[in-house]
Symmetry: C2
Subunit: 238 residues, 2 copies
């Protein structure tokens, strides 16, 4: 009964994530930023030595990667596949027993816009998805998404060159369930490129010590003028 993927190997990966401290570490890294061991120990809620042990296990399991930089060590999720596996577990956790009340994050800034691994989430991201759909730039069906020819043109104008088939296992356009909005938002390579481009144009700015993003004046104008997002969806009250 030897198989490429067995219960054995699945359980090994799941056990990695099945510890509260390690799950907190991975969850913190879902923000997409590289974090140091000390920062992660705060997120994990355990001592530095314990965190070090956990990080070694996660490295062994190839769920994260390190980069040494001076006396710091910066950790990241190893691949989008890790983020997707975590997302799958989140979907289960969200619908499972002992669910928290669906009030979403208390932090209004987080609720408005934040990073989700390498793309955007929150009200802004959902509004973008809506705007793209209604303008016929993308076609979203359930969890899948396709970019139309019109969309390719508009995104290219925006500075996003999307090679249709650069042999990557990464979906060009997929959606991701938003835990505060309970709606889909854009992920995949398109989502990642949109975040990168928005940061470069300074339409959004990362908020210190948080996954939240703040929308700048330029962003308010840009998201409205270029993508046709209603202004009332660009303000915290939105």
């Amino acid at each position: 009964m030897t198989q490429l993927v067995s219960g054995q190997s699945i359980s090994a990966v799941a056990a990695m994530i099945g510890d509260v401290a390690r799950a907190n570490i991975l969850f913190a890294l879902m923000g997409g930023k590289a974090l140091t061991a000390t920062e992660l120990s705060h997120h994990a809620g355990v001592s530095a030595p314990t965190t070090s042990g956990h990080l070694n296990k996660l490295l062994d399991g190839q769920l994260i990667t390190v980069e040494k930089q001076g006396r710091h060590r910066y950790y990241r999720l190893a691949s989008p596949a890790v983020a997707e596996a975590l997302e799958g577990l989140s979907n289960l956790a969200a619908s499972g027993p002992g669910r928290h009340r669906p009030t979403g994050p208390k932090d209004m800034a987080m609720r408005q816009a934040r990073t989700c691994y390498d793309h955007m989430a929150g009200q802004l991201a959902v509004a973008m998805t809506d705007a793209f759909t209604s303008r016929g730039l993308i076609i979203v069906e359930d969890r899948s998404g396709l970019i139309t020819e019109e969309g390719q043109r508009v995104f290219a104008d925006f500075g996003i060159g999307l090679d249709p088939k650069p042999r990557s296992a990464r979906p060009l356009c997929r959606t991701c369930l938003d835990w505060s909005e309970r709606r889909m938002h854009l992920g995949g390579r398109l989502g990642a490129a949109l975040l990168a481009q928005s940061l470069q144009r300074r339409w959004v700015r990362p908020v210190k010590e948080s996954r939240a993003l703040s929308i700048t004046r330029d962003g308010e104008r840009g998201f409205h003028d270029v993508f046709g997002i209603p202004r009332d969806r660009l303000t915290p009250a939105g």
Copy 2:
């Protein structure tokens, strides 16, 4: 820092799957068939009492459901979301360290065709995906899939009525990485309907005590005539 989905709740779910015996149980249930406690104890490789404990935990965690029938208890995965979470973990496990050699399953029958939760996998499923794509019935891009108008017509003729938007969280058409073929095959509601219809028409038949499916004479003719699948991809040698 209370959030809808926290590291805490993710780890609870992951810990469920993070035990070898439980992972084997879930993996066995990925075949889509309901199995009894005794059958599952064999898959898990532990005693009946231990299995009983595991099953209770999985029930508590809402990863599986039971149905009493006489002196048997039939267990199933609770939802497609569970299967998708397992799939996400499988993808990680397959690319992780200690990977098994990529020879795929030894069992040729399994390799040719088998169930993957509620849809088909193996050579047959990959061949179908290829045929549908080249005939323009579906458009597959990475992990997403869309059904064309032509596709809707053909599938409807085949007896698959696909309500475009029956408010279900389940994707209509998505793809799933095949661990024996290393290619994508069809999942989602379309994949499930194709399996159901193929079983009903007796184009495939479940193999006893296995996830494998055998292609019948009718199936060879049907898959070729209706969907244009080359005959050489319908034989074990394929």
